[in-house]
C-alpha cells in the first residue's frame, strides 16, 4: 500500500508538471508524426513495388509510427527522471520512499498515460488522412497492448539509464538506442525486401516480430502474436533487472564500486593527527 502511495505521489508530481507545461508533451508526439508524414509521403511509391505485399503503405508505416509514439512518450518521461535526479528533486523521493523502486513505478504510470495519449493522437491523425483499418476491435486492442508494452519496456530501459547517470545529458543514451532499435527493423519496407547486414539485423531485432504482429492486427491477419508478446515480456523482465540495478547504483551514490568488498587499507594520517604532531613539535 505504501509503495502504491509512493508511486501515486511521483505520478502526481509528473502529471501536474505536464498539465502546467503542455509543450513538454509535443516532442514525443511530433517526431513520430513527422516520420509518418515523411515516410508515408516520400516513400508512398514503395507501396506499389513488386513484392511489397501489404494492403496499404500508409498502414504499413503507421504501425512503426504508433510504436514510436508510444515509446517516445516513455523516453521523454525518463528524461524527466534524469532531470529530477540531476536537480536534487530525486533526493526528496529517495528520502520519503520506504521501497525506492516504487519511485520508478510512478514514472511507469505517467509514461503509460502519455503513451495512451500519443497513441490516441496518432490513430486520429492516421484515420483523418484516410488510413483504413482492416482489423476488428480485438485486433486494435492487441495492437495497442503491444504499443503499451513497448512503452513500459522503454520506460524501464530509460529509467535504468537515468538512475545510473542522473544527468539530463544522458538523454541521448536513451533516445539514440531507441532510434537505432527502430531503424534496424523493417520500418519502411518489409523484412523480405531488406538485404545484407540490415536484413540480418532485422532478423534478430526483437522489435521485428512486434512490428509484424502489429501489422498483422491492423490487416486482420494476426501473425507472430505469441512471439511478439513473449519478446516484449522478456525485454520487460530484462529491463526490470536493469532498473533494479540502476536504483541500487543510485542508492550507492557517486564513485562507488559496483560490487566487491569494501575498500580496506591502512588508515592515512588525517589532518588532526598532523596538526597534533605539529603542535607537539612546537611545544
Amino acid at each position: 500500500m505504501r509503495s502504491l502511495s509512493v508511486a501515486r505521489g511521483v505520478a502526481y508530481q509528473c502529471t501536474r508538471k505536464l498539465i502546467r507545461l503542455p509543450p513538454k508533451l509535443l516532442p514525443s508526439l511530433l517526431l513520430p508524426l513527422f516520420m509518418f508524414a515523411a515516410f508515408g509521403g516520400a516513400l508512398g511509391a514503395l507501396g506499389s513495388t513488386k513484392g511489397f505485399g501489404y494492403y496499404s503503405y500508409t498502414a504499413f508505416v503507421f504501425v512503426f509510427v504508433l510504436y514510436m509514439a508510444s515509446m517516445f512518450a516513455a523516453v521523454f518521461t525518463t528524461f524527466d527522471i534524469a532531470a529530477d535526479f540531476e536537480g536534487g528533486f530525486g533526493n526528496r523521493m529517495m528520502l520519503a520512499a520506504p521501497r525506492r523502486l516504487a519511485i520508478v513505478g510512478g514514472y511507469v504510470i505517467v509514461a503509460l498515460w502519455r503513451g495512451l495519449a500519443n497513441i490516441a493522437v496518432v490513430f486520429a491523425v492516421a484515420l483523418a488522412t484516410g488510413m483504413s483499418v482492416q482489423g476488428n476491435a480485438i485486433d486494435v486492442i492487441g495492437l495497442v497492448a503491444l504499443a503499451l508494452l513497448l512503452n513500459t519496456v522503454a520506460t524501464l530501459y530509460g529509467a535504468g539509464i537515468a538512475l545510473r547517470f542522473q544527468s539530463t545529458a544522458s538523454g541521448v543514451l536513451i533516445l539514440i538506442p531507441t532510434f537505432m532499435l527502430f531503424f534496424l527493423s523493417p520500418i519502411f519496407i518489409p523484412r523480405h525486401q531488406l538485404s545484407g547486414w540490415l536484413r540480418d539485423a532485422a532478423d534478430v531485432n526483437p522489435l521485428t516480430p512486434v512490428l509484424e504482429a502489429g501489422r498483422g492486427f491492423l490487416a486482420d491477419d494476426p501473425v507472430k502474436v505469441v512471439l511478439a508478446f513473449a519478446a516484449l515480456l522478456g525485454l520487460a523482465l530484462l529491463f526490470s533487472v536493469w532498473v533494479v540495478r540502476g536504483m541500487r547504483k543510485a542508492e550507492r551514490g557517486p564513485g562507488s564500486p559496483a560490487r566487491g568488498p569494501r575498500a580496506r587499507g591502512p588508515r592515512a594520517r588525517g589532518p588532526r593527527a598532523r596538526a597534533q604532531q605539529g603542535a607537539e613539535a612546537k611545544a
Binding site: K24, L26, P27, S28, L30, L31, L33, F34, M35, A37, A38, F39, G40, G41, A42, L43, G44, A45, L46, T49, F79, A83, F165, S167, T168, A169, S170, G171, V172, L173, L175, I176, F179, M180, F183, L184, F188, I189, Q193, L194, S195, G196, W197, L198
Partner: protein, 259 residues
Amino acid sequence: MSSSSVDLQVRALARRSIKRTLRQPVLVVPNVIFPLFMLAVLSSAGKEITHVKGFPTHSYITFIISATLIQGAAGATTLAGNALGNDIETGFLSRLALTPVKVPALIASQLAGVAVLGFIQSVLYLLVGLAGGASIKAGVGGALVVLALALLAILAFGSIGLLAAVRTGSAQQAQGVFVIGLGLLFMSSMIMPRNLITSSWFKEVATYNPMSYLVEAPRSLFITGWNAQSLELGAGIAAGALIVFLAASIASLRTRILQ
C-alpha cells in the same frame, strides 16, 4: 574597449566552449555515432529506392550522404543548447554577465565548441561515405565546399540551440528542439528527391521546408557537380538562419541579463 580586449574575451570563452564540448563523451559520442548509423541503415535499406524511375543516381549512399552531414549538423542544436542551458541553470552566465565581456562575444563564443566538433564529424562522415561507395562529382574542391556548407549549417543549428536555451533557461528543454529539427529533416527531400515524391501535400511541404535546400546544396556537389542555384540556396538559407537566430539569441540574452 580595445579590439584586442574583445579578441581576448572571445578567445577565452571559445577555448572554454571547445574544452567543455569535447569533454562530454555522453553528448559527443551519440551525436557523432547516430548519423553514421542512419547512413548505414538508410544506404542499405534505400537500395530499393534507387530503382524508382528517374532516381538521379544508382548509389543511394551518394544520395543520402548529404543528409547525414546535415543530420550531424542538426546535433549542434543539442550541444550548444545544452551548454548554454547549463550555464544559465548553474548561474555561470550571471557571472559572465558581470564581467566586461559583451553579449555578442559571449553568444558567438558558445558556438566555438560545436563548430570544432561539427567540423571534425563532418570530415569523418565524408570519409566514411566515400569509403562506403559514395562519389563526389565536384571533386576535391567540391569536397571542401561540402565541408564549408556543413560548417555553416552547424553554426546555424547551433544558434537555434542557443536561442532555445536563452528563451527556456533550461538545458533539457533546449535539447527538445533537436527532436523537432530531426522531424523537419525527415519532412524534407532527405530520402527522396522532391521531383519524385508522389504525395502532393508532402511534396509541397518539402518544397517549403528549408531543410530540403540545406540537404540539396551539398547533394548537388556529390551527384551533379557544380550547381550554382542549389549552392546559393543552401548557403543562403544556412547563412540567413545563422544571422537571424544569432541576432535573436543576442537580443534574448540581453533581455535575460537585464532582468
